[in-house]
């Protein structure tokens, strides 16, 4: 083969091999590490898979936070003003976690319909709401007229 062609072929092969490895790794890793988002309505309707790592989000229900005085375990309910889901978490919560505030939790749903979180994210400043939470609230408000007033007033106040 002509040396220049040969060289080009080498280069193309290198590129293809590199690309192939990248694509293989990406798809493999993607398959394992995608975390889908579910809102409280979907979870209580049984749409969310059990024992798969997912994200759930909504507002922390007023008066629902219960703390175990002897450990770092905390329980609260996350609501979209249509349905709510009990969440259990052990660890340190973000500074802006509070009742009536938006949160996104990462974790697994157990067989009893309880969400066991390994990570809890709160909004990071006073004026900001996680987009997933805003969407979930909006959806819930649209879905149920009764709750809509309640939800919109709450949404507006952030």
């Amino acid at each position: 083969m002509h040396p220049i062609r040969k060289k080009r072929l080498t280069i193309v092969l290198f590129l293809l091999v590199g690309l192939g490895i990248a694509v293989a790794l990406t798809t493999y890793a993607l398959r394992q590490n995608i975390n889908l988002f579910y809102d409280p309505s979907q979870i209580s309707a049984g749409e969310a898979p059990v024992d798969v790592r997912i994200r759930a989000g909504g507002m922390v229900e007023e008066g629902s936070v219960v703390r175990d005085p002897d450990s770092l375990t905390i329980e609260f309910r996350v609501t979209d003003f249509n349905a709510s889901v009990p969440v259990e978490y052990t660890g340190i919560l973000p500074d802006l976690f509070a009742e009536g505030q938006g949160v996104v939790a990462m974790g697994r749903l157990n067989n009893n319909g309880r969400f066991v979180a390994d990570q809890v994210l709160a909004k990071h400043d006073e004026n900001y709401m996680p987009p997933e939470v805003a969407d979930a609230l909006e959806k819930a408000a649209k879905g149920q007229n009764k709750a809509s007033e309640n939800a919109t007033t709450n949404t507006v106040s952030y």
Binding site: F14, A22, L30, Q32, N33, L36, R55, I92, L93, D135
Partner: protein, 668 residues
């Protein structure tokens, strides 16, 4: 009165930018010198007016002019003066203004330091930079005016700067990062100018090399500062979260690193030209993409200031126009050159090609992981996130491969390297780094496969770099003379590669051997983290300038001896009532000890995070090395000396730097 002047200055800067993007370019295409002569004065004028606008906004902050909406939203009269200063870029409008200030600064720098460039070239480069400026000035004037007033209802006081941003990290992180982002605009402008006039040669590569390297050095520092800031200020001791915003800054860094290396090949050997141009376009596009991701509000992050969709749309349009226009130009004008110079399948060219393949693959991986959720969300196909494991799993092998390749590549020669010779060269570095990394494994209790791979790679790069330096500096006139004979750009490379090794070692060790414990503690409690004993002494109230705090006291003991006293805080800011965690860290070259206070569990019990972080400082130390390497490399005299003779440079001529001449002897 002043704020209106500021707005006027921005509009004038916009007009000058429009002129800059049209007049010199037209002059260069029609060959009219009098039009080309406008390039430098216009660049200077643009800088002056943008600088004026920036100074006026700064003045509004320092004098607490809350009639300006942006000041009222991002400052407060109780804010210490230095935070009032840095609050200028604490929000969307101001950080955009900072971005534009940097852009016009770079443009001015190109105008000043390019006296030796042909007039046609410099006119086109400055015109392209002018076009970029038009885009961003239009953006700020139309959608994000920082000088909007709150009249007649002027608030009595401001809403305060987000407490997260009240930190020294914020004072320097954005300017550094923007210097990097915007600096790639220069590499981009050189590439576009070269495409316009069809002069893609070694001289073009040499002109754009130092600019690319400086931008890259600033970006490295900016990313490292961001990571450092996240580590101590976001409170919880993480230093990289694969957060889309971090990824947005990593993307141009990765492709910029590829660009730097491929420019070296283009300059020295006259090959990979089209590829280099494409990389320059891609790198700047990724900088723009980063700006879009961060500023449009599509992301949930610290950086996403509450924003309106109009801005996102504008930035997306700007991004689209840049990419489409430059790629079209590329498709039309990319050189169909027949490259004369030859290189073997085991040459430095090939090693650098592989480096590029790996870096571009890494760029793609990070881009996929970052953009995939956004695209799905946009198409309303569901909300999902891609977790850290994805990035760790895919990025680490590429980083290791790049490191292993680098160690071998350091010894390789341009054109052709003898395989057997290279193998023999690598034998000793291989043995030394195997032994050294085994020793490290023994030092940190326990062998972990991934830790070994990471530490070995870092050792391999380090040993190979020093081995090569030793080889090259041998001289009949003595070692010192040999060391002095090496060029600054060579030492720049040495520093850069060592920096990467240092960062790699830090990442590997802290991820594998770091210990983190969340515990419930009441004053008087003792907790163990590894060999360290943490004694929670007490916690009480303390008043700061614009906050009140719960102030904890901890003793850290090692082998019964007190080695540090730490005072983490839980602050409550009086304006906005927001709560902030201030961790306290006993920093050291070989380990950090970290304490942060979580929430109050009961009257006297607190959630406490205790951490032992070995080699965590090396992450950022490595970045400092890399940046220092970059700055050293551009001070090399050949950028000044050769410029005069560059018309005569023949790309296929043998390369004459010290290293390859010696090796040519060795090979033949």
């Amino acid at each position: 009165m002043y704020p209106e002047l500021g707005q006027l200055a921005l509009i004038l800067a916009l007009l000058l930018a429009v002129l800059l993007s049209v007049v010199p370019l037209a002059g260069s295409l029609t060959g009219r010198d009098n039009l080309q002569a406008f390039a430098r004065p216009l660049a200077a004028g643009m800088f002056v007016f943008v600088g004026l606008a920036f100074a006026i906004l700064t003045n509004a902050f320092v004098t607490d002019d809350f009639s300006v909406a942006y000041v009222a939203n991002n400052s407060n009269s109780m804010l210490p003066w230095y935070f009032k200063f840095s609050a200028v870029w604490g929000g969307h409008e101001g950080s955009l203004l900072l971005w534009i200030l940097m852009l016009s600064g770079w443009t001015l720098a190109v105008a000043i330091f390019s006296r030796r460039l042909p007039s046609v070239m410099i006119s086109q480069v400055l015109s392209v930079l002018g076009m970029v400026s038009v885009g961003f000035l239009l953006f700020i004037v139309v959608t994000s005016n920082p000088f909007d007033r709150l009249l007649p209802n002027v608030p009595a006081d401001g809403a305060d700067l987000n407490p997260l941003l009240q930190d020294v990290g914020l004072i320097i992180h954005p300017p550094m990062l923007y210097m990097g982002y915007v600096g790639f605009a220069v590499a981009f402008a050189f590439a576009i100018a070269a495409l316009i006039n069809g002069r893609l040669d070694a001289a073009w590569a040499r002109w754009s090399r130092p600019w690319t390297t400086v931008a890259w050095a600033f970006l490295s520092l900016g990313i490292a500062l961001g990571s450092w800031w996240a580590y101590y200020e976001l409170g919880w001791g993480g230093w990289w979260f694969w957060d889309p915003v971090e990824n947005a800054s990593l993307l141009p860094w990765l492709s910029g690193t590829a660009l730097m290396h491929s420019l070296a090949v283009t300059e020295k050997r006259g090959v990979f030209k089209s590829w280099t141009v494409l990389l320059a376009i891609v790198t700047f596009s990724l900088s723009l993409l980063g700006t879009f991701l961060v500023r449009s509000g599509v992301l949930t992050s610290v950086h996403a200031f509450a924003s309106d969709p109009e801005r996102g749309t504008f930035l997306l349009a700007l991004l689209a126009v840049t990419i489409v226009a430059s790629l079209t130009l590329y498709a039309v004008r990319a050189p169909v050159v027949h490259v004369r110079s030859r290189y073997g399948s085991l040459s430095r060219e090939i090693f650098l090609l592989l480096n590029n393949v790996l870096l571009v693959s890494a760029t793609l991986l990070v881009a996929v992981g970052t953009l995939y959720p956004l695209v799905l969300d946009f198409l309303e196909m569901g909300k999902l996130s891609i977790g850290e494991p994805f990035f760790n799993l895919t990025f680490s092998p590429l980083a290791v491969a790049a490191g292993l390749l680098m160690g071998a590549g350091i010894f390789s020669r341009w054109k052709k390297t003898d395989g057997g010779w290279l193998g023999r060269k690598l034998l000793w570095p291989l043995a030394v780094s195997l032994i050294a990394s085994t020793a490290v494994m023994i030092g940190y209790d326990g062998f972990k496969p991934w830790a070994f791979v990471g530490v070995f790679t870092a050792m391999w790069v380090t040993v190979a770099t020093f081995w090569d330096l030793w080889d090259k500096s041998s001289s009949r006139k003595g070692r010192i003379h040999g060391l002095k004979r090496q060029s600054r750009s060579y030492y720049g490379m040495v520093l850069g590669h060592l920096g990467l090794a240092i960062t790699m070692a830090g990442v590997t060790v802290v991820s594998n051997y770091g210990i983190e414990r969340d515990v419930r503690m009441v004053p008087g409690d003792v907790a163990m983290v590894g060999d360290y004993q943490f004694v929670f002494k007490d916690i009480g109230a303390r008043n700061g300038a614009n906050f009140t705090a719960q102030y904890g006291s901890f003793d850290v003991m090692l082998d019964g001896e007190r080695i540090a006293e730490l005072h983490p805080e839980k602050r409550q800011y009086s304006v906005g009532m927001s709560v902030m965690t201030e961790a306290d860290i006993d920093a050291g070259l070989f380990r950090d000890i970290f304490v942060a206070i979580g929430e109050r569990i009961s009257d006297d019990a607190w959630a406490i995070r205790l951490q032992y972080k070995p080699l965590v400082r090396w992450l950022w130390l490595g970045a400092i090395f890399m940046a220092a390497g970059g700055f050293l490399a551009i001070s090399d005299r050949r950028y000044r000396v050769r410029e005069r003779a560059e018309e005569k440079v023949d790309t296929s001529a043998p390369v004459t730097d010290a290293g390859s001449t010696r090796s040519a002897g060795a090979v033949s």
